[in-house]
Symmetry: C2
Subunit: 308 residues, 2 copies
């Protein structure tokens, strides 16, 4: 590993969607808007703001349209909205000028996909191909997201070949970027390294994004393995918010502030003001009324001052 000198790494903050979605108590829309605006001013360039899912299934995101309409986000920040299906796209398109990217998600295992969206993988792909076509026609950028890419809590091992085949379909339909999710934190660094080495060969021209969870404490080790394999795009959640509610009490996505701290210490650049990001994590702890499991929010960034 040669120390990088300022090489840029892209980070998509997914806390306002992936994180909030897993909170049992509905967060006030005002708080969401304020947190989204704070995040949008940290220097990050990709921000998942909300999702147009069914409000009866996920009441936490019932205010999707209001959050998207109200939040003042600098022009240089690409706003991403996950879209589950064509109805979701219709709802989002009513606010077409408020976002630049859609992400389209499905699972790499039949069982997980069935439990999540009540469809087979093939049914999901057919539906998403139509959504991608319409999104591109609207001038939107499309990102595919494949859950349980590194292992499924229901099926166990997930063959990388199956994941790549799904990614190829998404890319062929027009996704410039595909994110691979370790949804319940089953990945290990040896697997991650082999996975992305193979993915780069199988998916030339596609931006490969890694989405890790810290369920078993290996989140940043998996980031390191992905970096070593050439991955330069990650998704993370401020405050280590989010993650699967199973197993109970398990930690969530990797914390954005812990990720940025590691990247900057290693010599990568992210464009993000770490202190401002830590302040966002502190603020979401205040809003939720509890301490989250991120590390840098407690310990603070490394202080390399000289002298006693």
């Amino acid at each position: 590993m040669t120390a990088p000198t300022g090489e840029h790494v892209k980070i998509r903050e997914v806390g306002p969607r992936d994180g909030f979605q897993n909170e049992p108590e509905v967060i006030a829309t005002d708080d969401k808007v304020r947190l989204v605006e704070m995040l949008a001013r940290t220097g990050l360039r990709r921000l998942e703001v909300t999702s147009f899912v069914r409000p009866d299934v996920i009441p936490q995101l019932a205010d999707a349209a209001e959050v998207l309409r109200r939040a003042r986000i600098p022009e240089e920040v690409a706003v991403t909205v996950p879209i589950p299906n064509e109805r979701g796209l219709d709802n989002a398109l009513a606010l077409r000028d408020r976002f630049q990217e859609v992400n389209l998600f499905l699972s790499a295992s039949e069982t997980h996909n069935r439990k999540n969206v009540n469809r087979s993988i093939e049914e999901s792909l057919n539906g998403l191909e139509r959504v991608i076509g319409r999104a591109l026609a609207e001038g939107l950028r499309a990102e595919g997201v494949i859950s349980v890419s590194f292992g499924c809590p229901y099926e166990g091992h997930v063959p990388a070949e199956r994941v790549f085949a799904i990614a190829e379909r998404l890319a062929a339909a027009g996704c410039e970027e595909v994110a691979f999710g370790d949804t319940t934190g089953m990945a290990n660094p040896a697997q991650v390294r082999a996975f992305f080495d193979a993915a780069r060969e199988r998916l030339p021209g596609v931006e490969l994004t890694a989405h890790f969870h810290n369920t078993r404490g290996q989140g940043l080790a998996n980031v390191l393995a992905a970096l070593e394999s050439g991955v330069r795009s990650f998704e993370s959640s401020f405050g280590e918010l989010g993650g699967c509610p199973v197993p109970r009490g398990a930690t969530g996505n990797i914390a954005s502030e812990d990720l940025v701290s590691m990247l900057h210490e290693m010599g990568y650049s992210s464009g993000i003001d770490l202190e401002a990001l830590v302040e966002c994590a502190r603020e979401v702890q205040r809003v939720l009324g509890r301490a989250l499991s991120g590390h840098v929010v407690v310990a603070g960034p490394v202080d390399w001052h000289e002298g006693g």
Copy 2:
């Protein structure tokens, strides 16, 4: 990174010393003995059981002799006892048949060493050289431990050359093994990789051990970097116990069960029964009456079962 096929990694469990020492409430000797005996039956081969420090300075370890005398530890487990000075060695030698290794510690920065043991580094080295000589004469194995090897909370940057010079002195005095401590979690993977690449050249024939803290969430990422540099010996603490009390609320050593989980998933062997180790972490949570910050103790080991 080539996936290792069962390559062995050594782990020294330091929770009963490094972990307990940082607990504000004194733990009952019976509980300590029971936990040490549980750990000793997990398959681990190196166990730091207690330390002969001044009881007025660290009341938590005032029962060092009793714990060492009472705990029934299988013959194949090497018991390590940290020794601060000659008086500590005298006290430990009264129970000479109960341990096989001593570890001798000092800091890589003058300020940290002064605050920790009220001596200059040179004074510490002179004293430890005498202790090492006497320990070797008693047939004990000697391990040196250098705190703040990757950065000091008081002095900031610590030049690797200074750390290596201290390690050379310890090795010349008879230490077969030197552990490098990231005492307040300031290390990052790029630094760790460069450090151990250089250390292997500078310290031929010395077993190099990495001792990381998870203060900023990078503990296992640093382990990965050390593994990639050829390090095959680590120190960790069950339940993620321990660590510096500064900053307040910061997490401690890397959790032994999280480390073992990652190593096994990557294809390394440790000889340790992960489920038994997780049970130790659960038990220490019960004894302390609070949840600790380890991950696998909550999420459980990865379950690679097949089928829904």
